[in-house]
């Protein structure tokens, strides 16, 4: 019995990590995804996972759509960390935490922003941003 529970727990945990939460829709120049210590070159159509770090080079941009239709677009020399992304409408479980570490980001909220805006948080090194169904431009300088 305990073994079965452990199996169930480990399989749901594995699913939470491996299941994509979005995909890359647009790309110009060079961008990379850091996932669990490994670096992957970004490509159109490639999946995005919870906890991915997304980074662009100079003269580059990348556009991403997440499961709840949140759209993210990074300008050149930019980096964001998708720290948390939970979208489980059947269980009404929502949680989004995106850290913007440098550069420029266009953020457009999706279904979570409508159903549960308090579950969405954007963070920069110096501020937090709460949203209510919103398209925002965010720039973080330096470091």
């Amino acid at each position: 019995m305990v073994v079965i529970w452990l199996l169930i727990l480990s399989s749901t945990a594995a699913q939470a990590i491996t299941e994509p939460v979005g995909s890359i829709k647009t790309l110009k120049g060079t961008a990379q995804i850091t996932r669990g210590g490994a670096v992957v070159k970004a490509q159109i159509g490639a999946p995005i996972h919870q906890r991915d770090a997304i980074e662009t080079a100079a003269d580059s941009h990348i556009g991403i759509i997440l499961r709840d239709d949140t759209c993210l677009s990074l300008g050149p020399n930019s980096r964001i960390d998708l720290k948390t992304y939970i979208f489980e409408p059947q269980e009404s479980r929502y949680s989004v935490l995106i850290r913007i570490l440098k550069g420029t980001l266009v953020y457009l909220s999706g279904v979570i922003g409508k159903l549960s805006p308090d579950s969405v948080q954007l963070e920069t090194p110096d501020a937090t941003i709460a949203i209510r169904g919103t398209r925002l431009l965010i720039q973080v300088e330096g470091s």
Binding site: P20, G22, S23, K25, T26, L27, K28, I44, G45, D59, S60, H61, I62, G63, I64, I65, R67, D69, C71, S73, L74, G75, P76, S78, P89, Q90, T104, L105, V106, L108, S109, G113, T124, P125, D126, A127, T128, I129, A130, I131, R132, G133, T134, R135, L136, L137, I138, Q139, V140, E141, G142
Partner: protein, 205 residues
Amino acid sequence: MGKLVWKVLLPLLGGLCFMMVSGCSTPRTLVILIPDHDGQVGKAVVTTGKGAVPLNAAGQTVVVHNRHSSPKETTASGKDRIDALFGEALAGEPPLPEKFILYFQSGTVQLTDESLMEVPAIVDSIRKRQSYDVSINGHTDRVGSFKANIHLSLQRAMHVKGLLIDAGIRPKYLTTSSHGEGNPLIKTVDGMPELRNRRVEVIVR
């Protein structure tokens, strides 16, 4: 002698300029609220340990110099400033997902005639966008039991997935989910037939 003075002064001046630029006049965080694609303007709140500033008008701009200072509203940003700072990021915005709703005969996985005719448009959209991420979400009305409707809504989603695969779309791009009767477009009492709730929503990203 003059040269020596400049050798000392220049780095000092440079450092002063740098401090002015990075320390004061250039914010560490800049946030601008802009309209959604349908023209609506949402709301946001920028918060630090020292205070919070709400945004609710298009172009409204808030800067934060560091986490120990309060956010400050500055002059609203016009198109020129937005393009200068965010032109590249805006150029990379993905096209908005496209949504299709297909309707079903009561208690079955049989599409209505109109909805069956709409399937080729979904296939076109997937191809045109080169979409690798299509959600197929099944729903029912409140005829039948809650449990039976979870099953029926999954069958509806699987049926639509089958139609798209038959049209040549690769299965690995298609994700199904079943919502049963729990996520209606039109709220009804239990047992009420409602065509608009007997549906599959296809979202092409």
